[in-house]
Amino acid sequence: MNRDQHKAFGRTEADAMNDLRLGAARKRLAESQGQEDAIDAVREIVANFLGSEELGLFRVDRRSSALRAFWSFGIDLEGYDLLQALGDAGLERVMRGECHVELAAGEHAGEMGRARAFVPIRVGGQTIAILAILRLLPQKLDFDGADMELFKLFSDEAAKPLFGPGAFGPDGPGTNSDSQPVTEGPGIRA
């Protein structure tokens, strides 16, 4: 096998793996039963496919546009300032429906240089929640192109399993009785 064939084989392998990952994530989300299981699905997909065990979910209040911590895993979101973490430009981007991804700035960059991603959870052209992936596992160095496809899947397909049909109602998010905050202790499960 020459170098070009090796490259093509590597790409095919990576593409196949990515397809498997997306298919499994989509199936897991679609088959989740109720909000708690959907949250589990998100946690499992992020841990197993993206390589992070520090994540949080924030709801966007439709009326006030305020952001409130809804659920977290592996990190205590009390006092976490999402607005500060995102910055004005990041917040604008996420509310517009784009992911705000910060790639790692190198191994000596410290806390500020670590990879993070803020993924809008969308329905009806609106961002109703933000999934924050706040730290990668040590063996996962950075986000890559395949991860962006998973972010898009979350963005397009996670709203209904997470927040139920109420997320689609005329009054939008916040009107569904199934949308009560869930608190999960940090780092309890992996």
């Binding site: 498997l20 499994a24 994530a25 841990a47």
Partner: protein, 123 residues
């Protein structure tokens, strides 16, 4: 003869993914369990050629299940590969102390996983 792998994970997502990789990319047969206790039982019933097992699980974790399999004559010789999000040396050492043969960290790379399995089971 088709080789059989017992895949153990409490995460439905991980089980789904590992099963997909094995079924689409290898000829190995796949059986599953969702915690350590069930893994020990299934290992005795199914006599797999290899166990691919998560570490952090309810009821009985992967280390404990690994130790139990090593104590029982029927499962003592089965190769066990632990799968975990934690790759620190001390954690891996604890895995080897429990009797595992190998370690692979999440997120799983399919090529790495298949190569590892083939090193124990052949192609």
């Amino acid at each position: 003869m088709t080789k059989k792998i017992l895949v153990v994970d409490d995460s439905k997502t991980a089980l789904m993914m590992e099963r997909e990789i094995l079924e689409r990319r290898t000829t190995y047969q796949c059986v599953t369990a969702s915690d350590g206790r069930e893994a020990v039982e299934k290992a005795q019933q199914e006599r797999p050629d290899l166990v691919l097992m998560d570490v952090v699980m309810p009821h009985m974790n992967g280390f404990e299940a690994c130790k139990m399999m090593r104590q029982q004559a029927s499962t003592r010789e089965i190769p066990i590969v632990l799968v975990t999000t934690r790759g620190e040396e001390a954690y891996m050492e604890a895995g080897f102390q429990s009797g595992c043969n190998d370690y692979i960290t999440k997120p799983i790379d399919s090529a790495e996983l298949i190569a590892l399995l083939q090193s124990y089971l052949g192609e």
